[in-house]
């Protein structure tokens, strides 16, 4: 557990996913409790259909970056850049504020499209026709590199990858950096892209008889792949309105000990059978177990979206997403949360636990 000497605030959030791009689109999906995955009508030549997926568009990136600067950017890097710019905008920061900005990107799978694209160049035309551009844009740190180049964000720059625990790991570093004074501001985001190969693996591992929507608390496997980017702009400077504090980041296994009281536990339950029992155990701990995964789908860095959702819930003083106890989903049945714990499990029972809190006495935005 990282104890906070210095107070760390979430000054901005930016996200793009199956729900659209930006806070308004995300809030609309959160209010609804879900959004619809896109059916993928093709099938793999071996006859296996692709499962529906929550797919993200990055057209909005042209609001922030000139076309020429995007020429080498694959979908993974575009997702990251769009999420990052949206978080900066939400925090009221412009390009001039970025010189000492730290950047940390968490990704479960990295640039899968370009990774396989590089293999395509070899399989199509032979080893001596391997594409150097594909190779150098397939490395995981390419998204963080583009953020640093495009924003001229020249603070510490880091990419971490450990599947479901990637975002918690990223936040451990972010807190260290902010509390030691290494940075004043750091942009921390989770990024993962959908790819037909990943989709095919879903089908092979879990079958293609899919649920219509992802049901986080169902006993049945209902995971549907998602993609996108969700960023937090963390700072030690207190924002004016509705300051949301990031108070704790913890890693462990089993049931997390909530070091301080919490009003809502936001579970990263994304319909996977391997992690479902761990999330079910949490429902005994608190009546206010909720999940937002049907808004964005299943991806290793889904926790980044939960953190963006928790920030919105605290700012808006309103509970979003689905409740584990269905009767409490009715309007007005969830009191305005002051403290939210965001919990993400890996299949081996390891968890990452992040706690956000609305600063006491803060005025409504």
């Amino acid at each position: 557990m990282t104890a906070t000497g210095t107070t760390v605030y979430v000054a901005g959030i930016g996200c793009v996913g199956g729900f659209g791009a930006g806070i308004d689109a995300f809030r609309a999906a959160l209010k609804q409790g879900c959004c619809s995955p896109t059916p993928l009508l093709q099938q793999h030549p071996d006859g296996q259909p692709f499962v529906p997926a929550y797919l993200a568009q990055t057209d909005k990136l042209s609001d922030f970056v000139p076309k020429r600067a995007l020429r080498r950017l694959d979908h993974y890097a575009r997702l990251a850049l769009l999420g990052g710019y949206l978080a900066l905008a939400d925090a009221g920061l412009s390009a001039q504020d970025c010189e000492d900005l730290g950047v940390i990107i968490a990704s479960g799978y990295g640039a899968t499209g370009t990774t396989f694209g590089f293999l395509d160049s070899i399989l199509n035309d032979g080893d001596s026709c391997a594409s150097p551009t594909s190779f150098s844009t397939s490395v995981h740190n390419v998204a963080a590199a583009y953020l640093s180049m495009q924003m001229q964000a020249l603070g510490p720059n880091l990419t971490v990858s450990c599947f479901e625990q990637s975002m918690t790991a990223a936040l451990h570093n972010a807190l260290c950096w902010l509390q030691s004074g290494r940075v004043r501001r750091v942009l921390v985001g989770g990024v993962d892209e959908h790819n037909p190969v990943v989709n095919y693996c879903y089908g092979r591992f879990f079958g293609t008889q899919t649920a219509a929507v992802l049901s986080p608390f169902s006993e049945q496997h209902s995971a549907l792949p998602g993609e996108g980017a969700a960023f937090l702009l963390l700072t030690t400077e207190r924002p004016g309105l509705s300051p949301v504090r990031l108070t704790d980041v913890a890693s462990g296994s089993g049931v997390p000990t909530m070091a301080a009281p919490t009003d809502v536990v936001l579970a990263g339950a994304d319909g996977h059978g391997a992690t479902a029992p761990f999330y079910r155990r949490l429902s005994g701990e608190t009546p206010a177990l909720r999940s937002c995964t049907p808004c964005y789908g299943s991806l290793p860095t889904g926790q980044a979206f939960d953190l963006a959702a928790a920030t919105l819930m605290l700012r808006d003083r309103c509970c979003y997403g689905l409740c584990a106890a269905p009767q409490t989903n009715e309007a007005g049945s969830c009191p305005a949360p002051q403290r939210i714990s965001v919990v993400k499990y890996s299949g081996d029972g390891s968890y990452g636990h992040v706690r956000l809190q609305l600063e006491e006495g803060s005025r409504h935005a």
């Binding site: 990282t2 104890a3 793999h44 030549p45 071996d46 950047v103 990704s107 799978y109 990295g110 899968t112 990774t115 396989f116 590089f118 293999l119 395509d120 070899i122 399989l123 032979g126 080893d127 001596s128 391997a130 594409s131 150097p132 190779f135 150098s136 397939s138 490395v139 995981h140 740190n141 390419v142 590199a145 640093s148 180049m149 001229q152 964000a153 020249l154 603070g155 720059n157 880091l158 990419t159 971490v160 990858s161 450990c162 599947f163 625990q165 790991a169 451990h172 570093n173 260290c176 950096w177 509390q179 030691s180 190969v197 693996c201 092979r204 591992f205 890693s251 890996s346 081996d348 390891s350």
Partner: protein, 395 residues
């Protein structure tokens, strides 16, 4: 850095040997164990020599289902824990973090699976299962059964240096009692073809900092350091200390270093500022020194301007460029050189390059003093530096 970050165990294996002592002996003997790749074939007209780990290291049956990268990491971990004197059961009572750097260990690039997928066949899923089970930090975390924070760093070729620096920060922040930090990477067709396509792989042994340098040789291996707070076992002899860490960002280009070495200067500045150490206190510098024209040019410029008159070398000519493991292996070697108070000849150095105006050590060189710096540059503009101090090992 406030809390002393002690290194109580060092594990290291690469083409130069299995275990730090063997690796160091090979280096001081001047041996360069490179050969054409044996683990895979390619259709390039001529092979590029690589530094592969020699057989005989991979003896644990329980590791068999993992990627080689993760197996290399586990082997280095065992060596490091042995030296540190930690048993698994002791560690489980502590807050133990794991920080590992890699490139291949996080890439979903199994060629056989993908070729099958692409051809419309129904490929065996074992390569994907193995990938999902083989995240280098998670593998160590699970094997030890510890529950502290865990991360795999994928900052390309500075990953190993960053992993040790960030692990040190975790200790100092009070997040962990012990951190296992290092890096692991294996030779594979994908990176081999990738570096060849970028025209930075040498078809001969590499010649870093020479006027006729002709590119890099890839390598493989792993190193793990056991980092712990001094207060945890104050009677334990230590191999060394992590005194400073800094990182910096070029914000310039995907594959070319900043021409003025912007990010590397930033990394050095931070490492000196946070440690309170002066460049003049350093006995030597372990340079990145891959042997590519661009790396050696940018790196020499920064060495000349920021760290003038300090002896430097590169070990890439003995280990190959081990990518995500390089920074960790070189931190291990830097500590070993500090303990011996001797630095090796910079392998492959021939004729100086007037443009670089920098000459690495040509022969084994004894020195006095206890401090050295190891630096790494990476694709994407990541740069990182560690300042390491000699421990109290009884030789």
């Amino acid at each position: 850095m406030a809390e002393l970050v002690c290194i109580t165990g060092i594990g290291c294996l690469c083409a130069a040997g299995n275990g730090l002592d063997e690796v160091v002996n090979t280096i001081f003997a001047g041996q360069r164990r490179a050969a054409s790749p044996r683990a895979f074939t390619t259709s390039h007209p001529q092979p590029y020599p690589v530094f592969a780990v020699e057989e005989g290291w991979d003896v644990e049956p329980e590791d068999a289902d993992l990627l080689k990268t993760s197996r290399l990491g586990l082997a280095a971990m065992r060596q490091a824990l042995d030296q540190a004197g930690w048993s698994v059961s002791d560690l489980r009572g502590l807050r133990v973090g794991v920080c590992m750097g890699t490139t291949v260990g996080c890439a979903m690039n199994n060629e056989a699976f993908y070729a099958g997928y692409r051809s419309g066949a129904t490929p065996d899923m074992q390569p994907i299962r193995r990938f999902l089970a083989s995240n280098p930090a998670e593998v160590i975390h699970r094997r030890l059964g510890v529950s502290g924070p865990c991360q795999t760093i994928v900052n390309a070729c500075s990953s190993g240096t960053d992993a040790i620096g960030l692990g040190s920060q975790w200790l100092q922040a009070g997040l962990c009692d012990v951190v296992l930090a290092g890096g692991a990477d294996e030779l594979c067709r994908t990176t081999y073809n990738g570096f060849a396509s970028l025209q930075i792989s040498a078809s001969e042994l590499c010649r870093p900092f020479s006027v006729d340098r002709c590119g890099l040789n890839l390598g493989e291996g792993a190193a793990v350091l056991v980092l712990e707070k001094r207060s945890l076992r104050s009677d334990k002899s230590v191999q060394g200390l992590v005194r400073g860490y800094g990182s910096g960002t070029d914000g310039w280009h995907l594959t070319a270093p900043h021409p003025e070495g912007r990010g590397l200067r930033q990394a050095l500045t931070e490492a000196f500022r946070t440690s309170g150490i002066q460049p003049s206190q350093l006995s030597f510098i372990n340079a990145h020194g891959t042997g590519t024209r661009e790396n050696d040019r940018a790196e020499s410029l920064v060495l000349r301007e920021c760290l003038p008159n300090i002896p430097f070398h590169t070990t890439k000519g003995y280990t190959g460029h081990t990518l995500g493991a390089a920074g960790a292996i070189e931190a291990a070697l830097t500590l070993a050189f500090l303990l011996r108070q001797q630095m090796p000849a910079s392998a492959g150095f021939g004729t100086p390059d007037p443009e670089l105006a920098m000459t690495p050590t040509r022969v084994v060189t004894p020195f006095e003093g206890n401090l050295a710096l190891s630096q790494s540059l990476a694709f994407g503009g990541n740069n990182a530096a560690l300042i390491l101090q000699r421990g109290e090992r009884c030789l």
